[in-house]
């Protein structure tokens, strides 16, 4: 489903991804952990083409990400991404935030898009916020809206880049719960997070990144109990 083969990426002299190989199967949840600056965000951004890679191959649903542009817009419709800072559109209502892409990109009828958006808002329990603006929501509500905004495009893959790091502790749970639900519905997901409880409970595999490489990939039980890599071991000790 997602194939990352021998991917290299550098910013000028900074060699950020040094030969990444990774496969994510359909319905799999992969959690990526790693120290700050190890290249986790960059990897996610390469997967949906926000960053260009210098070498290697990334394929999502059989569409090559680094090839032509028309493909990229099409591929992105199937790849939802959720950022740390929500990145909702501040000048649009919550409802508009959710409907704009289906209407403009997929040419869905506005009525239809609205109906679906309301279903999504009901699902996250805030249908009454449809006419509010993002600044009138709490952090947790914003992040959940940004998740359903991505879901409105009916993606087959969801990428999460530290979706809870900007949140107050009491709001983290509501976002993680929504992500858990998605996982139970068998959405294919790559999640960059420091929430190791989430990784243990939800992930099928955990990948650990250090110095631009994936140094360990293992099911969570094995990863947390018997980490092979020295850096992974230290990371787990620090976090637990």
């Amino acid at each position: 489903m997602i194939e990352i083969v021998e991917v290299h990426k550098w910013f000028g002299r900074l060699y950020v991804l040094q030969g990444i190989n990774l496969q994510v199967d359909e319905r799999e949840v992969l959690v990526i952990a790693g120290a700050s600056g190890s290249g986790k965000s960059t990897l996610l951004r390469c997967v949906n083409g926000l960053e260009k890679i210098q070498r290697g191959q990334i394929t999502v649903n059989g569409i090559s990400i680094q090839d032509s542009k028309s493909n990229l817009n099409r591929a992105r419709q199937q790849i939802g991404i959720v950022f740390q800072n929500y990145n909702l559109f501040p000048h649009m209502t919550v409802l508009k935030n959710i409907t704009i892409a289906p209407v403009k990109v997929k040419r869905m009828r506005t009525e239809e898009a609205k109906k679906r958006a309301m279903h999504l808002l009901e699902r996250i329990g805030i249908p009454e916020k449809a006419k509010s603006y993002p600044e009138q929501l709490s952090g947790g509500q914003r992040q959940r809206v940004s998740i359903v905004r991505a879901l409105a495009m009916e993606p087959t893959v969801m990428l999460f880049d530290e979706p809870t790091s900007a949140l107050d502790p009491e709001m983290i749970k509501e976002v993680l719960d929504l992500m858990k639900e998605l996982a139970q519905e068998k959405m294919t997901m790559i999640v960059v997070t420091h929430e190791m409880g989430f990784a243990r409970e939800v992930a099928d595999r955990v990948a650990f990144m250090a110095d631009g490489q994936i140094v360990e990939v293992a099911p969570p039980a094995q990863f947390f109990e018997h980490p092979q890599d020295e850096r992974a071991r230290r990371f787990i000790e620090q976090i637990l």
Binding site: L50, R76, Q77, G80, F83, L88, H91, V105
Partner: protein, 276 residues
């Protein structure tokens, strides 16, 4: 709210006293002028209908140039932010060479220079006498006036737009692109609407500047307000002071509402993102 009220009172008082002082000074100047200069307000005011005709030209040339320069400005701003170096450099050179020229030089260059090489106004010569709302918009002077004014102003407006677009975090564009929007869709639905809010105050200021700059078009004898005022003078009616005072009043009538609007918008947009 006593605090707010007393503040308004204070500003009201200051505004009132400043106006009174100014009126007093003007009155003193007027009195002293009267010793050596005989005013003919009655006769001067009789040419108001000429001013009104000039006002029409100034208004229409400003309005048309506003639209043209806004459109052109957006395009050039996009060029300045383009991925391609050559496009960036070309639009950069365009902006910087025009911005650093005095407008009057641009007018002379366009009307007496470029018009010889590219006599595009001749294309419209069959309709030269056609007037819309009393404005001969196919007249060569009018066409070249619009060209000079809009192209010159486009260079300023482009920079305002560029600043506005750059003020919007690049994450906004990335979020839009991640949802599958094309570059133009992300500009149209996400970046530009937000950029507009940022740039409305400086943009309104620029439009005030545009109206004022249109006065320099008198140099190609386009009969807008300024040229009209100049033409009122004749040996039989040498009321220079009166004519130019009326002229100033006409410009203030145009520009002060725009300035107030700009100030108002600035306040409103600064208060919060949105108060609906």
């Amino acid at each position: 709210m006593p605090g707010l009220f007393s503040r308004y009172l204070k500003y009201g008082w200051r505004f009132f006293s400043a106006t009174a002082l100014l009126v007093l000074i003007l009155w003193l100047v007027y009195i002293s002028l009267e010793q050596t200069y005989i005013f003919h307000w009655n006769q001067a005011l009789r040419s108001l209908h000429n001013y009104n005709q000039g006002l029409k030209i100034t208004l229409s040339i400003s309005l048309i140039s506003m639209f043209v320069s806004l459109g052109l400005g957006i395009i050039i701003a996009m060029g300045r932010l383009s991925r391609w170096t050559i496009v960036r450099d070309l639009s950069g050179v365009f902006v910087h060479s025009l911005r650093n020229l005095p407008f009057i030089v641009v007018v002379l260059l366009f009307y007496f220079g470029l018009r010889q090489a590219f006599p595009i106004d001749r294309l419209f010569s069959p309709w030269r006498r056609v007037e819309i709302w009393g404005v001969p918009i196919f007249d060569g002077r009018f066409i070249w006036g619009v060209l000079a004014l809009s192209i010159f102003e486009a260079s300023f407006i482009a920079e305002i737009f560029r600043g506005g677009i750059q003020a919007i975090h690049k994450e906004q564009g990335e979020a839009a692109r991640s949802l599958g929007m094309s570059y133009f869709q992300s500009m149209r639905y996400v970046i530009l609407p937000q950029a507009f809010r940022v740039i409305i105050p400086p943009l309104t200021n620029e439009l005030v500047a545009l109206v004022k700059e249109s006065s320099l078009l008198f140099i190609i004898s386009l009969e807008e307000l300024t040229q009209t005022a100049r033409l009122q003078y004749s040996t039989g009616r040498p009321f220079v002071f009166e004519y130019y005072t009326i002229l100033a009043a006409y410009y203030l009538m145009l520009t002060i509402p725009l300035s107030i609007l700009s100030h108002f918008l600035e306040r409103r947009l600064a208060v919060g993102d949105r108060n609906r």
